[in-house]
């Protein structure tokens, strides 16, 4: 529970019971397979997965796949954040634009991300562009919606303060609205990062045959469940690590934003 650290109460204590449960589950898994009570042909023991991890790390495959996935996540996320914030600023500051585009957003937003894979494949073939198209479009929405919402919720009095100081329209946007909306924007940015990881893996599974997502599918087809589980665990850890890095970065650079940063569980 990272959020507790930001709430001002020093309530962090190690969850011993929780980690013991995890350890017991892993042990039980190992035992059932070693003893052979539960002989699923394609369920590897945790020790086999650890051996597999060593094998993949030594051959360098793990690093190559992870770097490829990281690259697409970062590129796609960066484009989504840049486009989402700019469009969100436009829509958030102009009621006219909002009136004439909200329904379009409402129609496009629930489009399932995966439906873009065949179209992207059609347009770009097996390439990183395919991945980027699949990542950018769906992870744009949380940033856009949160930026727009954040701007709309800024108190009208703040704008009056800006006017009193005779700030120009762009100066009001930059000096008043943007800082006030930062907490909301950061929530969108974080949701979009989590989404980008999932989408990159998805795009690699059915679109571009590279990276961690493709590695999972190809090890499944090669009937190497031990190696497949290595990639599954790495993908899970990658998501957790990126999220933790972003939370740390935001709480350092925008202390005011971190109080509301947790957002809904998603």
């Amino acid at each position: 529970m990272t959020a507790r650290r930001f709430s001002g109460r020093p309530s962090w204590r190690p969850n011993v019971a929780g980690f013991v449960t995890v350890a017991i589950c892993v042990l039980a898994w190992e035992m059932t397979i070693q003893v052979g009570i539960f002989d699923y042909q394609y369920l590897p023991a945790p020790s086999a997965i650890v051996r597999g991890a060593g094998e993949l790390a030594a051959s360098g495959e793990l690093i190559t796949a992870t770097l490829h996935t990281l690259e697409s996540v970062f590129l796609g996320w960066a484009v989504a954040v840049a486009a989402g914030i700019s469009l969100g600023l436009l829509l958030g500051s102009s009621p006219l634009l909002r009136r004439y585009s909200l329904a379009t957003i409402e129609v496009l937003r629930p489009m399932p991300a995966i439906a873009f894979v065949p179209v992207a494949l059609l347009l770009f073939g097996f390439s990183i562009q395919t991945e980027l198209m699949v990542i950018v479009l769906p992870s744009l929405w949380p940033v856009l919606i949160n930026t727009m919402g954040g701007l709309m919720e800024v108190h009208a009095r703040l704008e009056e303060v800006g006017r009193t100081f005779r700030l120009s329209r762009s100066a009001i946007l930059y000096k008043v609205f943007l800082p006030a909306a930062t907490p909301a924007i950061m929530v969108g940015v974080r949701i979009s990062l989590t989404l980008a990881v999932v989408l990159a893996v998805l795009a690699e599974m059915v679109g571009n045959p590279e990276g961690l997502g493709y590695a999972v599918v190809s090890q499944q087809q090669a009937l190497r469940p031990d190696l497949m589980f290595v990639y599954v665990v790495v993908i899970g850890l990658l998501g957790l690590a990126l999220n933790a890095l972003l939370v740390g970065f935001v709480s350092m650079s925008f202390p005011a934003a971190s109080a509301e940063f947790k957002g809904p569980r998603s």
Binding site: V20, R99, R109, P110, V217, F229
Partner: protein, 267 residues
């Protein structure tokens, strides 16, 4: 339905539909696409061609069974996820030690992107409809389970005292106090789970070629039937939109019946 209820219902429906003038950018884009498209194109077929491709698909008898298969999996998978997620969530959340003990395990399970469960399930369960359903339910369950359990764990402590004063049985405590206080959070979890369930349903179909819209999409892409790919994209998009709006209406109705109760304790 009584007249008053019908009025309320219609108002809820109307509130969920944004004004149509907001569709202008989309219409402009599609019109420009139609006018500028250079006849039949392998990459950007004009919108009218999407329509004829959809009609062709319908006439060939492929569209309806595929759509039915996808919708059935989605609905059944989501229903399973809701039933198990809410049940387990209440069981975990109402007991503090259980919640603490299972917390890290559940958090890690949630961190694994749902699409990855597809290859695992393929290996362990093989290619069939049961596998499809299991995967969809398994991916959709986490947001529902975790929202339910964390809400159930944070029910206002004063209510415990009230329940004890009235000598409520455990069943009554859950039915009369826990469930009414967690409804909004369960709904939030379902809202997050819906797009996941749609994506995973389509993904299973794409990866395993089990019948459904996903299989149809990847098949038309492999045959370079671009108009058909776009037609299916629109159909899937409309389905996502319809499910989203339908759920918003259901959510509004449920919240009217069980309005949010006393605020939960901060976590």
């Amino acid at each position: 339905m009584k007249r008053g209820e019908l009025d309320v219902f219609l108002r809820l429906v109307a509130a969920e539909i944004p004004p149509a003038r907001g569709l202008v950018p989309l219409l402009v884009l599609l019109t420009a696409w139609q006018l500028l498209a250079p006849g039949p194109s392998a990459y950007f077929p004009a919108p009218f061609e999407w329509w004829s491709a959809a009609v062709l698909l319908w006439d060939s008898g492929q569209l309806l069974p595929a759509f039915a298969a996808t919708v059935t999996t989605f609905v059944e998978g989501l229903a399973l996820a809701i039933a198990i997620g809410v049940g387990l969530g209440i069981a975990i959340g109402t007991s503090r030690p259980v919640e603490r003990a299972l917390g890290p395990l559940l958090e890690f399970m949630r961190a694994i992107p749902p699409p990855v469960t597809v290859p695992i399930a393929t290996l362990l369960l093989g290619y069939d409809v049961t596998m499809k359903l299991t995967v969809v339910a398994l991916s959709a369950i986490w947001p529902i389970l975790l929202n339910t359990s964390s809400a159930a764990a944070r029910v206002e402590p004063l209510l415990y005292d009230i329940a004890r004063t009235f000598h409520l049985s455990t069943a009554d405590w859950i039915r009369k106090i826990v469930i009414p206080s967690i409804v909004p959070f369960v709904l939030l979890g379902i809202r997050v789970a819906i797009p996941l369930a749609i994506v995973v349903t389509l993904l299973v179909e794409m990866l395993t070629s089990l019948p459904g819209i996903g299989a149809l999409m990847i098949q038309s892409q492999r045959n370079f039937q671009s108009a058909q790919v776009y037609a299916l994209l629109v159909i899937v998009g409309l389905f996502g939109f319809a499910v989203n709006d339908l759920f918003a209406i259901i959510e509004a109705i449920v919240l009217q019946r069980w309005p949010p109760k006393a605020p939960l304790r901060p976590c």
